[in-house]
């Protein structure tokens, strides 16, 4: 890697080597975080662009999933299992949220016969 001109303004992207050992050769914490970041952003974009309520909730689930990856990655790279324990809790929350949200979606669907999010604009200022 040639030492390109690093813009002083841009943050330097240095991988967190340091004391955290590599569980798996060649794969560093950053890899996982990058993947979870991208997945999280995809979920976010999905949530922002899609108008179907259910798909929006699906995207939130996607974001939960992405967070889960990051959690586990951190946990494992620190060789302890708090990450995983935490994912389980994330899981419960996701399940609860899914249940409720979907019940709501059904209700909303019943009310307006459509799943389009932008129909509901009564809560305006």
């Amino acid at each position: 890697m040639d030492t390109t001109m690093t813009m002083s303004m841009l943050p330097t992207l240095v991988l967190a080597q340091g004391p955290v050992p590599e569980l798996v050769p060649g794969i560093t914490l950053f890899h996982y975080l990058a993947v979870s970041g991208i997945m999280f952003v995809l979920g976010l974009i999905g949530f922002l662009t899609r108008r179907n309520l259910i798909v929006m909730f699906l995207c939130t689930e996607l974001m939960f999933q992405a967070a889960g990856i990051a959690l586990i990655a951190f946990g494992r790279f620190h060789l302890n299992h708090t990450g995983e324990a935490f994912v389980i809790f994330v899981l419960t929350v996701a399940a609860a949220e899914a249940a409720l949200a979907l019940a709501l979606v059904v209700l909303l669907f019943r009310r307006k016969e459509t799943l389009d999010g932008s129909v509901w604009t009564s809560m305006k200022g």
Binding site: P11, L48, R51, W120, M123, K124, G125
Partner: protein
């Protein structure tokens, strides 16, 4: 010379009167002696508190009149009460004069009633202005003719106002009494603030009395005009009082004179540069006040309009007493004028540089002189006899101020004294005509009134008045005007003023006899005025409210046919006779030095060398000594005026309406004089109009800008709220995107900041 001996030998009986006069004369004669004159030898003498009756009685009369109004008295009771009170007051004044005369001049008495304003503005120092009277010969002179005339005119008014018996009557006499009380406070006040109280008091009463016929909008406007113009004058007086107090620490005459001695000595020694200009400025402020009250040049416009009021009011207030207040003020504070040589020196460098060298007395003299000339010219061209008399008053006042200006304080006082009597006679005569001919005042519609039955006394009184006013030799007017003219000619640098005064005397003689020849002599002819209906059946009084609107032409026309003038009653005739005799008697005051004795033994006495007036003995007219020459010159001038009037208005008169004067086509000059040289319009245009515009601007400014800002403060939150409202659109996605973007930006900021 010959006349002096003759007169003085005639009446030795008035011992006390003469004693003062002689001593006064003597004292006067010795004016050349000490530089301070009377001021140096002023000594206080005790005087009984009885003197308080002089202002007290008129006030009592006023309160009684007020009581009658409350009790709805419908008889002439208030009139008789008022006459009684004023007569009492005159008696006490005469007694006071006796007391003062006995003390032999240059004395003063202070009679204290109660503390009015005295607050101490610093430890040990107080601003003292109490209700107390200051009695000295000048006061006696003034009060004599004020109370005397007031009593006569009250009697006259009792009959003149008879058609208004009831609430109007009481209101009239309440204001009348209050007026005499205020005049007494003004003249007898021992400090300038009490003078100020009297000053504004007479202003108020003239407002109430001019506006007596409050149904007529013109009367209300005239009253308002009079009060406001007086108020402008009062402003000058207030500032003068403040300046005097800050300078001398007191405004009481008794304490003021000793403080002036220092400056008078400087003036006498001619070191005028040592006198601080602020002290000299006082005189100018006092002049502004005097000109405001006595209707002189800049502020004279209110007096002719004041004729809207009933005639007794015009006679008393606007001829004899109130308008002389200005003259009294300057006479009383003459020492201040004598030390004021270059009051406006401060304006040296500015465009008004030329003013910086004029002394206060010159301002007074030339102010008076020019007013006299202007008023005389306007008087000549008017047709309403009361307006003519009003302008003649303004003109004569101009004479008085000129007299004061040339330091003939004795001459001015004497002219005030005589003028009060004969001008009151003239006004009352005109009033009688107006009363008898249903408000007719136009000299083109009346002629030969004197020869009508019952009108002889009025005619004779008018004749006496005119003779005095015109300055026919051996009349009182002649003597008093003569002193002023002589003094004017005898002082070197007042020569142009003297010639103006002489020319004005000519005009005065002309317009006086123009009135006399047009109205009182010649073929009998009359047309009733507009106040027609109530007059002929003056028995019962029906609501005078609607009487004044002039809409009833139809009814008026036939009433005009069988109208016959009703001659004045006994009250008017007695008063006219009395005043005519008084005017003649006033002439005797000259040789007996009656007035000279009073004036020269008071602070109004002229100290030698005052204000640079080197008594130029040498100035002569055509080589003769001015005093002696004046006897003849003014006599000739008077005669010329009368003769021209005789030819133009008596011989040249064909019918009542036209006279030879009409075909003297002076054209534009004539019309301009008739319209009072458009002075009213000029004032309206240069002062009242811009002020109106200015106040409208202020009003708009106040409403739009100042209020606008306040409303703006109310508007901003609402506008802000409306601006932010769309952000809460209710669209879910909108919120979500905002949140995401928010996270992104926050992160960015944190990133840049943390690094």
């Amino acid at each position: 010379m010959m006349m002096d001996q003759m007169m003085s030998s005639l009446s030795p009986s008035f011992a006390p009167v003469w004693s003062l006069a002689l001593s006064g004369g003597g004292g006067g004669g010795g004016e050349g002696g000490s530089a301070l004159g009377v001021l140096a030898s002023l000594k206080e003498v005790p005087l009984s508190a009885m003197v308080w009756l002089i202002p007290g009685l008129p006030l009592l009369g006023a309160l009684l009149a007020g009581l009658c109004a409350v009790l709805k008295v419908r008889s002439k009771l208030p009139a008789w009460l008022m006459v009684l009170c004023l007569a009492g007051s005159f008696a006490v004044t005469f007694w006071m004069y006796q007391q003062v005369a006995a003390t032999g001049g240059s004395t003063f008495a202070v009679v204290h009633l109660f503390d009015w304003i005295n607050f101490n503005w610093a430890p040990g120092k107080a601003f003292v202005a109490n209700f107390s009277l200051y009695v000295d010969p000048l006061t006696c002179l003034w009060m004599l003719f004020v109370t005397g005339l007031a009593a006569c005119i009250a009697l006259y008014a009792s009959e003149y106002m008879s058609h208004d018996v009831g609430p109007g009557y009481c209101r009239f006499f309440f204001a009348f009494g209050l007026f005499v009380f205020s005049m007494a406070c003004l003249v007898m006040g021992d400090n300038l603030l009490l003078l100020y109280l009297g000053w504004e008091g007479v202003g108020l009463c003239s407002y109430l009395l001019i506006g007596y016929f409050y149904q007529k909008p013109s009367a209300v406007a005239a009253a308002k005009k009079a009060f406001i113009l007086n108020r402008i004058g009062d402003l000058g007086l207030a500032l003068a009082i403040m300046l005097i107090f800050v300078k001398f620490g007191t405004i009481e005459y008794a304490k003021l004179w000793p403080m002036l001695t220092q400056y008078l000595q400087m003036a006498a020694a001619g070191q005028f540069d040592q006198i601080p200009t602020s002290v000299q400025l006082i005189a100018v402020l006092l002049t502004l006040a005097a000109f405001g009250k006595s209707a002189q040049l800049p502020l004279y416009v209110w007096l002719p309009d004041a004729m809207e009021g009933p005639t007794p009011v015009s006679a008393l207030i606007h001829a004899a007493t109130m308008v002389t207040a200005g003259v009294y003020l300057i006479a009383r504070t003459l020492p201040l004028f004598q030390i004021s040589v270059a009051p406006l020196a401060g304006l040296e460098g500015t465009w008004f540089g030329f003013v910086s060298q004029i002394s206060a007395l010159e301002i007074v003299a030339y102010g008076g002189g020019l007013t006299a000339l202007l008023a005389a010219t306007i008087g000549m061209a008017q047709f309403d006899i009361k307006r003519i008399m009003a302008y003649s008053t303004v003109s004569q006042l101009g004479f008085m101020f000129a007299g004061l200006g040339v330091l003939a304080s004795y001459g001015a006082a004497f002219h005030v004294f005589t003028h009060a009597f004969f001008k009151a006679t003239l006004f009352l005569a005109c009033g009688a005509v107006m009363h008898g001919f249903a408000g007719q005042l136009d000299l083109r519609k009346l002629s030969g009134v004197m020869w009508m039955k019952g009108w002889l006394i009025v005619g004779l009184a008018m004749l006496v008045g005119c003779l005095n006013l015109a300055g026919v030799p051996f009349t009182a007017g002649y003597f008093s005007k003569d002193v002023i003219l002589a003094e004017a000619f005898s002082v070197g640098h007042f020569r142009p003023l003297a010639w103006i005064l002489l020319f004005t005397a000519l005009l005065t003689a002309y317009y006086t006899f123009r009135v006399f020849f047009r109205v009182f002599v010649g073929p009998k002819h009359y047309e009733p005025g507009d106040e027609l209906h109530a007059h002929d059946d003056h028995g019962h009084d029906h609501g005078h409210g609607d009487k004044h609107d002039h809409g009833h032409d139809a009814k008026g026309h036939d009433a005009k046919a069988h109208f016959h003038p009703h001659p004045p009653g006994w009250a008017i005739n007695t008063v006219l006779a009395l005043l005519a005799i008084a005017s003649i008697a006033a002439a005797f005051a000259y040789p007996t030095y009656f007035v000279k004795g009073l004036v020269d033994t008071s602070t109004a006495q002229v100290a030698a060398g005052a204000a640079g007036h080197t008594h130029v003995g040498g100035a002569t007219i055509f080589g003769y000594d001015p005093h002696k020459a004046m006897y003849y010159i003014s006599g000739i001038v008077g005669a010329v005026g009368i003769i021209t009037a005789f030819f133009l208005h008596y011989l040249g008169r064909r019918t009542a309406a036209t006279s030879a004067a009409d075909n003297l086509n002076l054209g534009a000059l004539q019309r301009a004089a008739q319209n009072k040289w458009y002075v009213d319009e000029f004032y309206n245009f240069t002062i009242r109009l811009p002020l109106k515009v200015l106040s409208h601007i202020f009003h708009m400014l106040d409403k739009l800008v100042v209020d606008g800002l306040v409303n703006l403060a109310g508007l901003l939150p609402r506008a802000g709220g409306a601006g932010l409202r769309p952000s809460q659109s209710g669209v879910l996605h909108g919120y979500a995107v905002a949140m995401a973007a928010g996270i992104g930006v926050l992160g960015l900021v944190a990133l840049l900041a943390l690094r």
